[in-house]
């Protein structure tokens, strides 16, 4: 038997139990803090600011989903926003009141959907149905689309998933009888509030974190780090990628439904390249493999433009005064991203998480063995990345 105080021995067990208690305590404290913050935001922030804080939550859900789909597996998906659109339209069509549906003239809707009236339901129950249906349909589509696409790697999968996004966009614009084309759907009831948005953030973060800290997550990271070795130890790469793709699509679909029930409209232009790249920047900025990084990235990218808008208007700092320079906000943000990528190409968090006590042993004990110099840089053994061309051709 292994003589380690780490696990196996009674001391190790006791320690891991106390670590579990500690982790629970940190989780409860974090939730309490979140609750306090939301209560404060609800009581003292104006309507616009509350919407902004809600938007942070929605973007965080999308970014955390993309962290699962692309960050853990290394499968760079440009199609995530396609699932946002599917969730958005699905949710909207479920909750828009029947009289508005007939007013907007949507002949493509099946009878039951055209007459479906959830307005008599409790608001949050209707929103829950809209979110779960939107997420569910997105997940279903992801399973169908992912089965062939997840066999691909590298830029092939990026281009192929972008193809999926383009198809979704084309359908949204041209399926006028259901989506009302480029004009989009309106009169979507404003059911999304602060609390429900953050409840979904908690659910998303929890689910993705549980996957990360399990055999699923380790297998996903392994296939990202070394595809050949992952297959050699028995990882069914296609299945693991598909799981990440489908679960990511589910939560992105949920976010789509939350989004349209906040802003009240669903138009195709909101679900295209601009949004795609915004979310990718959130995830890359935070660190491709980090859940907390995705949340931080989403927060920065949602709030920074708002605060930088004041800078654009010009300001007066005692002896220094700046006139108005429009476009400055984007330039400052872009320079910020460039600096991060130059000085921290792995993103703010890399693969790491904040609060290791809360988030478990993502990176077990950092202690180094005697005889290894502390400055031993983690370099790969020679030839570690040479993949024979023939191996590469067999991914699926």
């Amino acid at each position: 038997m292994v003589t380690l105080d780490h696990a196996g021995s009674p001391r190790g067990m006791a320690r891991s139990r106390s670590r579990g208690v500690q982790r629970l305590a940190v989780a409860v404290a974090a939730l309490a803090l979140l609750g306090l913050f939301l209560a404060y935001a609800e009581a003292s922030l104006n309507g616009y600011r509350q919407q902004l804080v809600t938007l942070v939550a929605i973007n965080a859900i999308i970014a955390v989903s993309l962290t699962l789909t692309s960050g853990f597996t290394g499968v760079f998906s440009l199609g995530q926003i396609g699932f946002l659109a599917i969730g958005a339209y699905t949710g909207a069509l479920l909750t828009i009141a029947p009289q508005w549906k007939s007013e907007m003239f949507l002949p493509g809707l099946p009878e039951w959907l055209a007459t479906l009236d959830l307005s008599a339901w409790p608001e949050q129950a209707a929103l829950l149905v809209a979110c779960v249906a939107g997420g569910g349909l997105a997940a279903l589509v992801a399973a169908l689309v992912g089965a062939p696409l997840m066999r691909l790697s590298g830029h092939y999968v990026a281009v192929a998933t972008m193809g999926f996004l383009i198809i979704v966009q084309a359908v949204a614009i041209n399926w006028e009888g259901v989506t009302r084309g480029a004009r989009g759907l309106s009169q979507i009831p404003g059911l999304t509030g602060l609390w429900v948005a953050y409840a979904w953030v908690v659910v998303t973060v929890y689910a993705v974190w549980r996957l990360r800290a399990s055999s699923f997550g380790r297998a996903m990271i392994a296939s990202r780090e070394n595809l050949i070795a992952a297959r050699a130890i028995g990882v069914d790469v296609l299945r693991k990628r598909l799981l990440a793709f489908v679960v990511g699509a589910f939560f992105t679909g949920v976010a789509g439904s939350l989004l349209v029930h906040q802003i009240g409209t669903a138009a195709p232009s909101a679900f295209y390249f601009t949004t795609t790249f915004n979310v990718i920047i959130m995830v890359v900025l935070g660190g491709m493999g980090s859940i907390s990084g995705a949340v931080v990235g989403a927060t920065i990218l949602t709030l920074a433009p708002e605060y930088l808008r004041d800078v654009e208007d010009g300001m007066d700092l005692g002896p220094l005064s700046f006139g108005a320079h429009y476009g400055l906000a984007q330039i400052i943000l872009a320079v910020g991203f460039i600096l991060v990528m130059i000085f921290r190409p792995q993103g703010l968090f890399g693969d790491r998480e904040v609060g290791p006590a809360l988030l478990g042993r993502f990176r077990p004990g950092r202690r180094r063995p005697a005889g290894l110099s502390p400055d031993a840089t983690p370099t790969l053994a020679p030839g570690v990345d040479e993949i024979p061309a023939d191996d590469r051709s067999r991914t699926g």
């Binding site: 050699a232 077990p364 053994a381």
Partner: protein, 292 residues
């Protein structure tokens, strides 16, 4: 040809320690006309240690890639525990019980030593999706079992104390051992080692030889070793196959191989003379203390 070899190798050699576990018959692999492996036959018996040697480009790595599913054989059959495995994907073959290491070390770079092994360990007995999502007690129990077993495999390679270190911060020799620990964590019955002693000095190679022997006994393994280092091959293996230009040109005990003129010619022809005189009978019996 194939039946001839199988019949020949089942004769009462000292190596014959058990039932046939992995059979290959007439296996070939061509790359656009280049025959990297041709008419390859194998009758691997339970518990033996087989060495595969040959000059560079002789088809040794192709052989491993074909057995483990990374390459589809263009001809022939491979039967493992009575089941045809030619053409199965690598993960399925690993699940059936064949594990391998790589000539070029392939660790999971961003992971700790423990996580490298734990990932492999989790491929057997890992929790299901819903158990995982809800952190069910069964999930926690399975995770704990995976971690304990992974630590046992690390300990077997002398790496338990280093479990928390980033895998790529290990010195080269220990990275090779970590790859072996990771392969063992898939709980294989057959272990394929692709040049395990590459880049090691004589003392390290001697230690590794002893270590492989220990693991072979402890885990009841059947081992196939591809190696250039003749001292390791001659000390470790009961039976050796020599490949040249994708074909087996000789097969037999270390003593037979050393005396085989075809082998000497193949190596001389390749301008690569193995130091075959070095390992004597004494050398094979010599034991090396674990220096870890």
């Amino acid at each position: 040809m194939s039946s001839g070899l199988i019949a020949e190798t089942t004769e009462g050699r000292p190596a014959s320690t058990g039932e046939p576990i992995l059979r290959a018959a007439g296996v070939g692999r061509a790359f656009r006309g280049l025959q990297a492996l041709a008419d390859y036959d194998l009758d691997l018996r339970q518990g033996e240690i087989l060495g595969v040697i040959g000059p560079n480009g002789a088809g040794k790595s192709t052989l491993f890639n074909v057995i483990t599913g990374f390459l589809r054989p263009t001809s022939g059959r491979i039967v493992f525990h009575g089941r045809e495995i030619a053409g199965l994907p690598p993960d399925k073959i690993t699940a059936l019980g064949i594990a391998r290491t790589f000539q070029n070390i392939r660790l999971f770079a961003g992971m700790s030593v423990l996580d490298n092994v734990r990932t492999a360990q989790g491929m057997r007995g890992g929790a299901g999706f819903w158990e995982t999502i809800f952190s069910a007690p069964s999930f926690l129990r399975k995770e704990r079992a995976i971690e304990e077993r992974a630590l046992e495999h690390l300990a077997a390679l002398g790496l338990a104390d280093l479990h928390g270190v980033p895998a790529t911060s290990l010195p080269y020799g220990l990275q090779r051992k970590l790859e072996i620990a990771r392969a063992l964590a898939t709980e294989p019955s057959v272990l394929l080692l692709d040049e395990p002693a590459a880049g090691m000095n004589a003392q390290e190679t001697a230690d590794l030889t002893q270590l492989i022997r220990d693991l072979h006994a402890r885990f009841g393994l059947t081992v196939v070793v591809v190696e250039h280092d003749m001292s390791l091959i001659m000390r470790l293996c009961e039976r050796i196959q020599v490949l040249n230009y994708g074909r087996v040109i000789a097969s037999g005990t270390p003593a037979e191989i050393r005396a085989d003129p075809k082998v000497i010619e193949a190596y001389l022809g390749a301008d690569e003379t193995p130091d075959m005189a070095l390992p004597t009978v004494d050398g094979r019996q010599q034991t090396h203390e674990e220096s870890m």
